[in-house]
């Protein structure tokens, strides 16, 4: 079927697609009106143009290869970029066919062209964003990511200068990334505060809205900056705040142009797309930075805590703190000093990165509290602080430093090129016992308030460790003093007690033998017989004290022998039976015969005595039972009373020295019996356990290995 020519003409003129005919040399022979509009020319203008006139040189090199295949009869679809009359890019999709005359000779090509610029733009932006996010995930820096993000802007908008600025916590803007903008302009704006009349960027970040400046010259918000803008040939600018998901301004995205103009709809769209993507980038990087920093902190803190817990000798432990902060990249130089017994602060250790170490000399380690900076200041004022040093400024001020030693210090500091430092005093119980300092020589790693707070935390951990070890030392001293006292006291008491007892015995003997007149005899006799049990009690208490001083001081040596444990225990039980009788308490013993094993017989008897006397004391005159059994490896000594019992709360502490579960009023004694019992059993490699409930009596079970451990 052949179309009537008038219908054909109608289709050509009314088509939504462009129609483009070229001759064999790719010179235009015909375009329809749509096609002419697409490229921004009139139909007549285009008709005389060569295809290469409508595109960049590079694009033409690409396309000419494809067009050449038309001569070979190839039909194809392809995408291409043309340049409009106004210089902007036109992306098209083109269906191309070769044209032949009636003789079948190749006479040119025809293209059916659709404008895909909008699609292509979206695609470009999406692709760029995808690539940015991939880079981010792969760990690209913020600047690289933002630069990648700006690239499509440059591709899609003609003659644009684009930039992303970042807002810091103090409300200042810093360069994030930029394309085409002169570096001088960036530098001049670095650190600018945001505000209501701070150009497009400073204002948009301040009011949190898009700021469009069609003419910088006449915009009141640009008054302070227009000279700068003109110097770099910038005349129009649209800037939008980059806002995080929680509404915080992270920075700005801006497009500048070299002439005064209005923004296109597409440019406003790009601004929106860009700020959204930039927010994600910045937030992601910030979160990563926070996480990294947090991990770095946790690393140091846990390492410091681990170190501090390794020893109670805090001087030895603190010595490693400078090493720790330097090795964990918190400082290029660090030292710690402690107050000596003579009250003078001395540096106990220094650590530094190799490049700093080579510059350190002895005198910088000397510690002089007269200085009004560094650790001296922190210690004198008991206040942690951070300071930024400015080595170049310091060297220009050096003339004014008259004090010789101070001057040497300054010169050294300048040589070390220290940029900032943190000084932390160590306060323990209200006294500054030392401090540490860390310094960085990296200009882009100045310490922040956050770093100071964190180092303060490290300082507190150190202070707590010091306090603990001081407490530990004091406790040890106190325990030692008590043990010494008990040891001396019990030995000292024993000697006069011996003669006292003998004198009373002698007096008793004389009374019995009737050596006194009847009157005196009758008066003395009851007194002396009352004295005797007191002396016995006194003697026993001193024995207990003596035993305690032996056990607490780890002086208990067992004399392990082979023996018949049944016999050893039975002997002791029978020795105690008279005491139970006079105490009106029944003593029931079930002792398995012939349990042979190894033990210190005297000590095992002591265990039996302690447990039985304990049961008698707290047994409320109810029967007390001792059961002795064994298995292949152990002997079990069980002592049961039916007395007042021990509450759960008290059970935990009854084996501690000087602990008694009951009130002092009820029962005498020193509270050492169970402690000693436990010591003896544990030295034998055995165990003691107790079961009790208030009012239900108490059962102690001691188990001892039959083969003693040595």
């Amino acid at each position: 079927m052949k179309l009537p020519s008038n219908l054909f003409a109608q289709i050509v003129e009314e088509s939504l697609d462009g129609l483009w005919l070229v001759d064999i040399n790719f010179k235009t022979t015909f375009v329809n009106e749509i096609m002419a509009k697409m490229v921004g020319y009139t139909q007549e203008e285009v008709t005389q143009m060569h295809i290469s006139d409508l595109m960049t040189k590079e694009d033409w090199e690409d396309l000419s290869l494809k067009l050449a295949s038309r001569k070979e009869g190839v039909k194809e679809h392809h995408q291409a970029r043309f340049l409009r009359k106004d210089g902007s890019a036109l992306w098209v999709r083109c269906a191309c066919n070769p044209l032949y005359n009636d003789n079948g000779d190749f006479v040119g090509s025809v293209g059916l062209v659709s404008d895909i610029s909008e699609l292509r733009k979206d695609e470009t932006i999406l692709q760029a964003q995808r690539s940015v996010f991939q880079r981010l995930i792969a760990g690209a820096t913020l600047e690289d990511s933002l630069l990648e993000l700006l690239k499509p802007v440059d591709q899609l908008v003609n003659n644009v200068y684009s930039s992303i600025l970042l807002l810091d916590d103090e409300g200042r803007l810093w360069k994030g990334a930029s394309i085409n903008i002169p570096e001088d302009y960036n530098k001049a704006l670095n650190g600018v505060h945001i505000g209501p009349n701070q150009g497009s960027c400073g204002t948009s970040a301040y009011i949190k809205e898009l700021v469009v400046t069609e003419n910088i010259d006449t915009d009141p918000r640009w008054v302070d900056y227009k000279a700068l803008a003109f110097a770099h040939n910038l005349h129009a600018c649209w800037s939008s705040p980059i806002i995080s998901r929680n509404g915080r301004v992270l920075g700005t995205f801006a497009m500048y142009f070299g002439e005064t103009r209005k923004p296109t709809e597409f440019e406003i769209q790009i601004v929106k797309d860009m700020t959204a993507a930039a927010a994600l980038c910045i937030e992601h990087i910030r979160l990563m930075e926070i996480e990294k920093k947090h991990l770095k902190k946790m690393d140091l803190l846990s390492e410091a805590r681990r170190l501090l817990s390794t020893s109670m000798e805090y001087e030895n432990v603190l010595r490693h703190i400078p090493d720790l902060v330097v090795n964990h990249n918190w400082a290029s130089w660090s030292f710690i000093c402690l107050k000596n017994d003579d009250g003078i602060y001395r540096t106990i250790s220094v650590a530094a990165k190799p490049e700093v170490k080579s510059l350190l000399t002895e005198n910088i380690l000397e510690f002089d509290l007269s200085s009004d900076m560094g650790l001296s200041k922190a210690i004198k004022e008991n206040k942690a602080f951070l300071q930024h040093l400015n080595p170049s400024q310091m060297s220009s001020n050096l003339m004014n430093v008259s004090d010789h030693s101070q001057r040497i210090t300054y010169e050294k500091l300048i040589e070390l090129n220290l940029q900032s430092y943190i000084a932390i005093p160590l306060e323990v119980r209200g006294e500054v016992i030392g401090g540490f300092l860390l310094a960085s020589n990296e200009p882009d790693k100045l310490y922040t308030k956050e770093d100071l707070d964190f180092m303060n935390e490290i300082g507190r951990a150190c202070a707590i460790a010091i306090d603990n070890s001081l407490l530990y030392r004091e406790t040890k001293r106190a325990v030692k003093a008590r043990e010494d006292f008990i040891s001396v006291a019990s030995h000292e008491l024993r000697t006069p007690l011996t003669s006292l007892k003998m004198r009373i015995d002698l007096l008793g003997m004389l009374i019995e033998r009737g050596k006194f007149p009847k009157e005196v005899h009758d008066a003395l006799s009851p007194i002396v017989s009352e004295l005797r049990p007191d002396i016995v009690k006194f003697t026993r208490l001193i024995e207990v004290l003596l035993d305690f001083s032996k056990h607490a001081g780890s002086k208990l040596h067992l004399k392990i022998e082979n023996c018949n444990l049944s016999k050893v225990i039975t002997e002791e039980v029978e020795r105690l039976r008279p005491e139970f009788t006079s105490h009106k308490t029944e003593l029931i013993s079930n002792i398995k015969e012939k349990i042979l094993g190894e033990c210190d017989q005297v000590r095992v008897q002591q265990v039996v005595t302690n447990l039985l006397m304990n049961a008698m004391k707290f047994g409320n005159n109810n029967p007390v039972t001792i059961n002795v059994t064994n298995n292949e490896t152990e002997i079990f000594i069980e002592v049961k009373d039916q007395g007042i019992g021990i509450s759960q709360h008290d059970l935990e502490r009854i084996f501690q020295p000087f602990e008694r579960a009951v009130s002092e009023k009820h029962f005498g004694g020193l509270g050492l019996g169970l402690f000693i019992t436990k010591q003896i059993i544990e030295r034998h490699g055995g165990k003691i356990s107790v079961k009790s409930g208030d009012g239900h009596g108490t059962t102690f079970t001691a188990s001892l290995p039959l083969k003693a451990k040595n």
Binding site: R494, T495, P496, L497, T498, S499, K501, M502, R503, D505, L506, M509, L510, T539, K559
Partner: protein, 121 residues
């Protein structure tokens, strides 16, 4: 003058005095020495029927005193009763009897009665 002589070798004056007092009530003649050295010096002149010996003493302790007796072949001649607070170490000394401080006077006097004069010349 009684023939029954006892030598007390004890550094603590208090204990020495009360032992002396008790034994004198029992009818013994008592000679005292402050340490092993003094005890040895008094031995020949006193020629006691029994020695009460403390262990922990300055200059010469109880163990050394016994060693000297043995050296001079006098151990069999003079019965020794050890009176000491140091029960564990006392067990490794050779003696007729051992009385642990703080002591029961009755126990001591019984032991003295038993061993007095048991020495072999």
């Amino acid at each position: 003058m009684s023939n029954k002589k006892i030598l007390i070798v004890e550094d603590d004056a208090n204990i020495r005095d009360v032992l002396k007092l008790a034994l004198e009530f029992e009818g013994y003649e008592v000679v005292t020495a402050k340490n092993g050295k003094e005890g040895l010096d008094l031995l020949a002149e006193t020629d006691p029927g029994l020695i009460l010996l403390d262990l922990m003493m300055p200059i010469m302790n109880g163990w050394e005193f016994v060693d000297h007796l043995k050296e001079k072949n006098l151990y069999a001649k003079y019965p020794v009763i050890v009176v000491s607070a140091y029960s564990e170490r006392a067990k490794i000394i050779e003696c007729r009897d051992f009385v642990q401080k703080p002591l029961e006077l009755e126990e001591l006097l019984t032991s003295v009665k038993t061993h007095y004069g048991a020495g072999q010349a």
